[in-house]
Amino acid sequence: MSWWSDLAGRRPPLSSAQTAALKAFVSMPACDQTIEIEAQRFVVVDVESTGLNLSTDRLIAIGAVTVSNGAIQLDQGLDVVLQQAAPSAVDNILIHGIDGTTQTTGKDPAGALLEFLAFIGNSPLVAYHAPFDRSMINKATKTYLGMTLNNPWLDLAFIAPALLPEMAKGKQGLDDWTRAFEIVNTNRHNAVADALATAQLLLVLISRANQENAVSLRDLIKLEKAQQWLTR
């Protein structure tokens, strides 16, 4: 059998359709990083979790928004809540607003994650402070699907100061940047709303990237690497 069968014992088994969907995802070719940014489909993600500790906290929800043809496609988004054995602590609920009932009646985690995989396909993923989202998602896929994602990630926390150094001073979080561009987030700490705000920041950065001769995903990844080096 294949590489996930040996883990099957520790996880609820996938249905045959789920197995097929997972297979389809992992066999997808990697995205072309050299095509023009405008032609690239980006999926901007934001996760909500039980807390900020990567080793002990769990993924609760994923919000995702698509940027393609240079615009946010409002008809293509994803909003999934993973079913939790028990709701997270009250002070945590107050942050993301996903109440206990929604948490415990959410989608079965494997199904929810497969839905997420079908949505992203081989698209590059974008987030602000991406390592956190990346870890949370990979931890969950590892637990429930026995695999991790190979999609490229872009972290706007590095791309933004790289493209807009003159504005970077004093800016730490997503809020600092969205405020500067008057991006309204009516529902902060809702995964989709945060992803939407992040996506708007991405649009601004893409337009800036064009002026800076960064024309492809590969250029953006290079920019990010350089910026990481700078701030190390």
């Binding site: 249905s15 359709a17 789920q18 969907a21 919000g63 928004v65 043809n69 240079g70 615009a71 946010i72 496609q73 409002l74 008809d75 293509q76 988004g77 994803l78 909003d79 989608k107 079965d108 199904g111 929810a112 497969l114 839905e115 079908a118 949505f119 561009f181 008057e182 991006i183 309204v184 009516t186 529902n187 809702n190 989709v192 709303a193 939407l196 708007q200 649009l203 601004v204 893409i206 337009s207 800036r208």
Partner: protein, 640 residues
């Protein structure tokens, strides 16, 4: 489980973010939930940094309807025309472009450019078309886009005097919102002492006298104290009812401050009780309104009515023009402005008649001063030639010719007086001082019958001018009798109506097949459109046929379209659009008249389309299309 997940499915919270935004702006605020969801489910959100040309003619048919989410977008005037910055309108959050291009299935003329970092929602053209079918509100918005453009245009004018915006807003508020104070009122048997004390305590200038049903039956104001109480040596124990002004003029609470200003100017009063179903709910004062507008209508009216001689009246004539200019620069609409100008001009003419009459013996003659043409239609713009006449009847034993001679002397003096007040003598001699237009009721009736029955070009031209008559001052009964006579005469005479319709169709709207407008050329080869001759007239003439054909007594073009349009089963929306279109053209005329000086007056009705901003140019086009619509209606009705 969610194996068959469909990623393309719209996500609730994404939809909500767009819906929450759009709900603040027309027409989305009035669309029903299902259609708004449908719309939001097809949006994309794009970013345009400052300077980006978002939509240009190069795009061909616009791929999207763009809705500004934040930032600002400007319509740049076509290349080659120098238009001052103020003439370029910026679209802000919630505003759409380009409805016109989408509706007409063509490329935009001038480019839409981001003038700030801008986010726009984009609705695919295909979905836009589908929404036109689904949502009536959306369709109305698109097809009657003229109306929303008119609002934009008005806003543009306001931008010229920035401080005026707040005033304008306030003047359009209804009175209920405006007067928060509880009115000071008392019963008819209240003693003078008590009434005056209450006025003093409340620091108000007037007290309204009400009956048991809270209906105003009288009003007493501070300025009445001197002559009615002090000088009349009234005892303070006398009831207020003895000194009050009975049956005061009142106004409904739903009326606007403009309406109140109009009434105050018309009646020369200071305090206006506000009623709701006849019950007193407030008082609006001259001062309340003064706070809202810089120049006072009543002030001018007072100058007019108290003018003791020709010089004073001449000054008042100039005041009217200044007033009109001020109001216009504040963005007051053409309808309200022409109403106000008409009111003040009427007062001016009435005063001129009164002043002159003192020196003339008109005993034994019953007469009515008539106005014709634009004055008769209450559509005067700033300065118009005199068009007036007299209708009279004489008592037993008075000779008609002798009466006419006396009236002519009087009328010629009035004509001269009006000339001094800013109403130039009529070149065509249509003036009361001309024996041809100083006629007895019988003579007028015979004259009207002659024009209607023996149509020849001259008779037709005369009927066009004279049938728009209106009583200005004197014995109104004579004018009413003449109107009734005409209304019996015309509707039965299809031959006459047909010729009148033919006349109305003589001038075609100057809309071009290739270029936007068909223009005329001046001596120095610059092209222009004559707004009076080839735009305003189209509406005026069509409305006249409609009114005379249906026996409507109104002479005012907008009133005629509204009243006759209803009888002719035109849709509400069509009537509204026609009236809006007419007012827009009047507004353009006013603008060009008010901005030109004495020497340019002859050409003040001319407008060079290229000097208009893009929005006004489109509205003009749309307005002319409305004229064409009215004309085709006439063509159909009279089989021409």
């Amino acid at each position: 489980m969610s194996d068959q997940s469909s990623p393309a499915h719209p996500v609730e919270s994404l939809l909500n973010s767009a819906m929450a935004f759009l709900k603040h702006y027309p027409p989305f605020d009035e669309m029903d939930e299902a259609n708004l969801r449908y719309l939001c489910g097809h949006l994309s959100l794009a970013y345009y940094p400052t300077g980006t040309e978002i939509l240009t003619s190069g795009h061909g048919l616009p791929p999207y309807l763009y809705i500004v989410q934040r930032g600002a977008v400007q319509l740049r005037p076509s290349a080659g025309y120098h238009v001052s910055g103020a003439n370029v309108l910026a679209l802000g959050p919630g505003e759409c472009f380009s409805v016109y291009a989408l509706m007409e299935q063509r490329a935009v003329g001038s480019p839409y450019t981001a003038v700030a970092d801008t986010f726009c929602y984009r609705l695919p053209a295909k979905i836009y078309a589908e929404l036109l079918h689904r949502s009536q509100r959306f369709q109305e918005f698109s097809t009657h886009y003229l109306r929303s453009l008119l609002r934009d245009s008005r806003r543009l004018i306001q931008m010229h005097s920035a401080s005026a915006a707040a005033e304008q807003h306030a003047m359009n508020k209804n009175l209920c919102e405006l007067s928060a104070r509880t009115p000071i009122a008392c019963a008819a048997d209240t003693s003078l002492e008590e009434a005056l004390r209450r006025m003093h305590q409340a620091r108000v200038g007037s007290i309204v006298v009400i009956n048991a049903d809270n209906e105003p039956i009288g009003i007493f104001s501070r300025s009445d104290v001197l002559d009615r109480v002090t000088l009349a040596r009234r005892a303070l124990t006398d009831p207020i009812s003895i000194v009050m002004t009975p049956k005061p003029v009142t106004i409904g609470g739903e009326a606007t401050a403009y309406d109140a200003a109009l009434l105050i100017a018309t009646h020369g009063i200071r305090h206006l009780p506000i009623t709701d179903n006849g019950k007193l709910i407030g008082v609006v004062t001259e001062r309340d309104l003064f706070a809202l507008q810089r120049v006072s209508a009543r002030g001018i009216n007072r100058t007019i009515t108290q003018a003791g001689n020709a010089d004073a009246l001449e000054q008042a004539g100039r005041d009217v023009q200044t007033f009109a200019r001020t109001l216009f620069s504040q963005g007051v609409s053409a309808e309200q402005l022409t109403n106000l100008i008409t009111t003040l001009n009427d007062a001016l003419s009435q005063r001129a008649v009164v002043l002159v009459q003192k020196d003339h013996d008109l005993r034994g003659i019953s007469w009515c001063w008539l106005t014709f043409g634009s004055e008769g239609r209450q559509e005067q713009t700033v300065s118009t030639d005199q068009d007036n006449g007299l209708v009279f009847s004489v008592g037993a034993g008075v000779d008609v010719e002798q009466a006419r001679a006396r009236l002519l002397a009087f009328a010629q003096a009035v004509n001269a007086q009006l000339d001094r007040c800013g109403f130039p003598l009529c070149l065509g001699q249509i003036m009361a001082g001309n024996p041809r237009w100083c006629l007895s009721l019988n003579e007028w009736q015979a004259q009207f019958a002659d024009w209607v029955n023996n149509t020849n070009p001259e008779a037709l031209l005369n009927s066009v001018i004279f049938f728009d008559f209106r009583a200005l001052t004197g014995d109104e009964g004579l004018a009413i009798a003449l109107r009734e006579y005409l209304n019996q005469l015309v509707p039965d005479n299809t031959r006459f109506l047909r010729q009148l319709a033919q006349y109305a169709l003589e001038v075609k709207p100057p809309l071009g097949l290739i270029r936007d407008f068909v223009t005329e050329e001046t001596e120095d080869k610059s092209s222009f459109i004559d707004l009076k001759k080839s735009a305003g007239r189209l509406f005026v003439d069509a409305a006249r046929v409609m009114a005379l054909g249906t026996g409507i007594t109104a002479t005012n073009t907008a009133s005629r379209i509204r009243a006759a349009g209803g009888l002719l089963k035109m849709s509400e929306a069509d009537i509204g659009s026609a009236v809006d279109a007419f007012f827009f053209i009047q507004q353009l005329r006013l603008r060009s008249q008010l901005s030109s000086d004495e020497a340019e007056r002859a050409v003040a009705n001319r407008i060079v389309p290229e000097t208009l901003n893009e929005i006004d140019r489109r509205i003009l086009k749309e307005s002319l299309r409305q004229a064409r619509k009215l004309q085709s209606r006439l063509q159909l009705d009279y089989q021409l």
